[in-house]
Amino acid sequence: MKFPLTREQQIELYYYMKLNRQLEEQMVKLFRQNKIVGGLYSSLGQEAISVGTAYALEKRDWLAPMIRNIGALLVKGFRPRDIFTQHMARYTSPTRGKDGTSHFGDLKELHVVSPISMLGDLIPVMTGVAMAGRYLGQKVVALTWIGDGGSSTGAFHEGMGLSASQRAPLICVIENNQWAYSTPVSRQVPARDLADRAKAYGVASSIVDGNDVVAVYQTTKEAVERCRAGQGPVIIEAKTHRMRGHAQHDPAEYVPKEMVEYWKARDPIARYENYLTANKLWNEKVKSEILARIEKEILEDQEFAENSPFPPPELAEQDVYCEGPLPNEAKWRRPIEEVRPPKASVKPEWTVKDFGGQEHPTPGGAPASISGDGTGAAARKASKPVKKAPPVKASQPKGRK
């Protein structure tokens, strides 16, 4: 292991994954009892990605979840009660009932930025977080996720392009769970590996088995170090499978049965249990203690949520504008003089090293040939599936000095 994990940490990874799963299972029950106000999404089978990536961050780092990243929120310090109350639209929820699902955050303590439903929007937003963190001298990394489907949005491209040109310390995890609602990846993008998108932005990328929590952790940790060292953004593609429908209402009959079977055999939690046992990192006693703890925490927090009131109607009219002070003053971790004139002053001119010509010394050089037949078959043939996380490849845009 490049980034060793202590026994406690490996047990903790299990705790979060299992908590993630049990919590969502409990919410399915609540959904069937009509206690969830809106829709309910599931990250069944994808827990290793949320937990493994978030676990590689430090407290000072920032993340922004998507709907299937409940596990990451738990790792960052939110509790099951936050998830329950959000879904049940209670006054005690992080948004006081104003929004649902994982649409919440915490600027002050936990460094979590709220998503919105519009896929892709978080990439530019977290690019801004990463840029601002660097500007303030905080040495923080910003991490967010996107689905295979969401990686086709304009916001995703704009955000990645901006983060690349700024060499922002941003990690974007593409959770390739093979489906975007009812549409398989092959109908969205003619490439087998979505990590290939990184080449177009000139950023580093890597592919990881998304159902192997240790591999996810290792890959992310490496990306975090790169980012922290100022080497620019990283795209990590985590291969996995969505094991339920898009949301509770969707029976997902369009998913081939064999595909479900294939991925069921690779369940990240069952695999990790075997890993812990094989490596003698735990025993039955430890396991049952964890399970008991999880059950207790979930039931307590569910009770808390169910006993919480709905928000008072007048709240609907409040807080359209922020009238008070900012809750989050800028935290400077570098001398402010550095960004003030005259120290900040520069010559307003470009240094251009590459004059943009072609490498043909004599006129009449051969034009580049176009390869592939437009179906993407060539690209698919060229890229093999990757089982183990390869080293993070670097292709850095030149920094501006």
Binding site: K98, I116, T127, A130, L162, Y321
Partner: protein, 324 residues
């Protein structure tokens, strides 16, 4: 007191705010070495450096999204749209991300999105827009549209210091055509407050942006005819200064609205509703509108002239209203 152009006033506001507060940063396309398409940001890079004058790819969603993220870290980013028409490309980031953030999860988004707007310079359908009403319809935003150098500077400073997302429309026709003496150094003009440009008792004309100047010309002509019009500059469209509007209507009992934005869904309609709800009994005539045509902004000078309201339109409508 020095005479400065509308453009120079805006530049001064940026300059002084960046000088005053290191959390203020600018981002946008070509705003650094080149100083911006209209040179509004000229000199900023030289003084404040690459970290605070951030040149971006052509990615309006990227720009505004990043501004939102920066604001969560305690910065006050000012994002430039090269032309305000391109704000359509980041509609989602503004209306869904920025506008709803504080209401939803208590995270304020103190950003400014500014850029050159408006027609009259033969910019054609994509470089002449007045897209303010898309945003006036969005709770959580503030929308500012100044008409004088003094206001432009003072309002931009307020916008930067405000803890909410503010859209700041700079009418490009005014950039170099309007000059005014403004005090040196720091002052602000509050958001959400209209101002009476000329007192009158016969009727009220509400306007903003470049049409303020058209209306002013009209008011002077009307005075010669014995029509004493009150002219109010809205300055901020959201939140709207309802109080001043109603006050003036209660005094003059007649109201017309002049704007360069197209007619259907323009702010005149909203103002008419506000007045009907708040001062219907006071009205001695219909609420009339002088606006652009309900078409895209056409390119040819002859077409654009037809499209835009002019002094004659304002005078004619005011006469009609005065005769009620």
């Amino acid at each position: 007191m020095a005479q400065v152009t509308f453009l120079e006033a805006i530049r001064q506001a940026l300059f002084e705010e960046m000088e005053r507060d290191p959390t203020v940063v600018c981002l946008g396309e070509d705003i650094g070495v080149y100083g911006g398409a209209f040179k509004v940001t000229q000199g900023l890079l030289e003084r404040f450096g690459w970290e605070r004058v951030i040149e971006t790819p052509i990615a309006e969603t990227g720009i505004v999204g990043a501004a939102c993220g920066m604001s969560f870290m305690g910065l006050r980013p000012v994002a430039e749209m090269q032309f305000i028409d391109f704000i359509a490309c980041c509609f989602n980031q503004i209306t869904n991300y920025a506008a709803k953030s504080y209401y939803r999860w208590g995270a304020p988004v103190p950003i400014v999105v500014r850029g050159p707007s408006g027609g009259g310079v033969h910019g054609g359908p994509f470089h002449s827009a007045n897209p303010e009403m898309y945003f006036v319809h969005t709770p959580g935003l503030k929308v500012v549209y100044p008409s004088t150098p003094y206001d432009a500077k003072g309002l931009l400073k307020s916008a930067i210091r405000d803890n909410n997302p503010v859209l700041f429309f700079e009418h490009k026709f005014l950039y170099r055509r309007i000059k005014e003496e403004i005090p040196e150094g720091d002052y602000t003009v509050p958001l959400g407050k209209a101002v009476v440009r000329r007192e009158g008792k016969d009727l009220t004309i509400l306007s903003y942006g470049a049409m303020m100047h058209t209306s002013l010309e009209a008011v002077e002509l009307l005075a010669k005819e014995g029509i004493d019009a009150e002219l109010i500059d809205l300055r901020t469209l959201l939140p709207l200064d309802r109080e001043m509007i109603l006050q003036s209507v209660k005094k003059t009992n007649k109201l017309m609205v002049v704007h360069e934005d197209t007619k259907t869904g323009g702010i005149a309609g909203e103002i008419a509703a506000v007045v009907c709800e708040g001062a219907f009994e006071e009205l001695d005539g219909p609420i009339l509108r002088v606006t652009s045509l309900d078409t895209p902004v056409p390119y040819a000078p002859s077409l654009e002239e037809r499209f835009l309201p002019n002094v004659n339109d304002v005078v004619r409508t005011a006469r009609e209203l005065a005769n009620y």
